[in-house]
């Protein structure tokens, strides 16, 4: 039987809700809370890294070409990156 990712019923909980799998929160994709997502226009991006610095979720990373992108598994859609990106390379669009 495949290991269940999360307990569903009360009987499946460990005493005190102790967690024995290190790093298990990595599997908890908080990005599901999002209403809007950031869309990057690399033609406007100057690779300043402001979006990377300001993202409170630390979910922005740099690719091999030096451009930035947000990890949609964790991006909460707060829009801070779009607000801080002064060349206007990031637009928030409704999650569809």
């Amino acid at each position: 039987m495949a290991d269940k990712k999360w307990p569903e019923t009360w009987q499946e909980l460990t005493p005190g809700g102790m967690v024995f799998r290190p790093g298990s929160t990595m599997g908890y994709h908080t990005g599901s809370w999002r209403a809007e997502k950031p869309v990057y226009d690399n033609s406007k991006c100057i690779k300043c890294g402001i979006c990377y610095i300001f993202c409170p979720e630390a979910c922005v990373s740099q690719d091999a070409d030096g451009y930035f992108m947000a990890d949609m598994d964790y991006c909460k859609g707060c829009g801070i990156c779009a607000h801080e990106c002064w060349p206007g390379a990031i637009t928030m669009i409704e999650e569809g």
Partner: protein, 392 residues
């Protein structure tokens, strides 16, 4: 062989805790439990007990230290009273949710204000729903016995919950009584070394006290409630084991002269002893009166209590705390809720007595009993009475 010693009960409690070989004692003394951690610190300083004694700067820290210690798999003990317990308040429900078997000696004292250091049960009652088990001792011997039982109950793999051992402030903490002490060998046999379910260790990673969002919180609370309900089985087992080992019997609801009694008094803690003298006197006068002593408060001994009141016509519930503006005192409200809808349930009267150290005498119990018998015919005006308040 067990040895008999005359000792102040707080000191005796400390000696009993030392026999349990705790690893960590973290305490901030507050009257009337002070002598318990004080004496334990002496025992540690004398080298009689190999434990870490943490003199914390507050009760909040004392409970936090116990929480941390318990997380590393240590056997942890603390003592508190009244405002000190309230100051621990933030951590109290956390350690029960984390299923840490911490033992606390609670030297029961009134919650201020007005400032008062004497006994009643308002401190424990304010922590009623914090997920801790709670037992009540009626005398020094029971304090010592329960202290040792408490570790065994709390640490049992099917329980893993913290526990309050309630001992009335001054009436018990500062009283000198002859007490039988078990030997270290007897306690070692009764209480095995603590083997924690899990312990914080870098080689074996575990997260404790994690976040519980709305999608799991409900289930978490259900699991916690089940753990508390199921702990009764273990409590009964431990009490049976104790009786076998030491010959002293403990039951969730102890009965005294209840056979065929029309009127039953229900008490908790040290007033039980006074009430038993009152019962003796009333029995001599030919009154059909018996006494129930509730030793187990959480988990609530529902079946035992239902059984114990069967056949009684009047049940007189003594509370030692006020639930301001409530339907009754905290104990009586629960007893009424338990007996609601039960066929032939007795008429229940409720007296709130002994607040903030007010003496409760044998005559008081007789008076309350006589009043209650009358109440069987004429319904009392009020659901409860703060007994003996001048002007009422």
């Amino acid at each position: 062989m067990a040895k008999l010693a005359g000792m102040e009960i707080a000191f005796a409690a400390a000696e009993a805790v030392a026999l349990c070989r705790p690893d960590v004692i973290a305490a901030y003394p507050i009257t009337p439990n002070t002598h318990i951690p004080e004496h334990l610190s002496d025992i540690v300083a004398e080298g009689r007990l190999d434990a870490e004694f943490i003199c914390t700067e507050s009760e909040h820290s004392a409970m936090s230290a116990c929480c941390g210690a318990s997380g590393t798999g240590a056997r942890a003990f603390t003592a508190s009273s009244s405002q000190g317990l309230l100051y621990m308040g933030e951590i109290i429900p956390i350690v029960s949710a984390m299923r840490f078997p911490i033992v606390m000696a609670l030297g029961n004292r009134a919650n201020s204000g007005p400032i008062n250091i004497w006994n009643d049960h308002s401190d424990i009652m304010s922590q009623r729903d914090m997920g801790w088990m709670a037992i009540f001792a009626a005398n020094g011997q029971e304090v010592v016995d329960m202290m040792i039982q408490a570790f065994k109950i709390a640490e049992h793999r099917d329980v893993m919950l913290p526990i309050f051992v309630n001992l009335d402030g001054f009436q018990l903490t500062h009283m000198v009584e002859p007490i039988f002490f078990p030997t270290q060998a007897q306690v070692d046999k009764f209480l095995p070394e603590y083997k924690p379910y899990a312990a914080l260790h870098p080689d074996n990673v575990v997260s404790m006290g994690s976040l519980g969002m709305p999608d799991i919180f409900n289930e978490f609370k259900k699991a916690q409630d089940e753990a508390m309900i199921n702990s009764k089985k273990v409590i009964l087992e431990v009490w049976k084991d104790w009786e076998k080992a030491f010959g002293r019997k403990y039951e969730p609801v102890m009965s005294y002269k209840t056979k065929g009694a029309d009127v039953l008094l229900l008490t908790m803690g040290s007033m039980t002893e006074t009430a038993s003298v009152a019962v003796d006197e009333m029995r001599e006068k030919g009154m059909s009166v018996g006494l129930l002593d509730m030793k187990l408060w959480r988990p609530f001994p529902s079946e035992e209590l239902k059984k114990a009141v069967k056949g009684a016509k009047v049940l007189v519930v003594m509370d030692r705390a006020v639930s301001y503006g409530g339907p009754a005192g905290p104990v009586c409200a629960e007893v009424k809720s338990l007996l609601y809808g039960e066929p032939n349930a007795p008429v229940i009267t409720n007296y709130i007595i002994g607040l903030g150290g007010r003496d409760v005498t044998v005559e008081d119990f007789v008076k309350m009993t006589e009043k209650s018998i009358k109440a069987k015919k004429e319904k009392p005006e009020k659901a409860y009475e703060i007994y003996g308040a001048r002007g009422s």
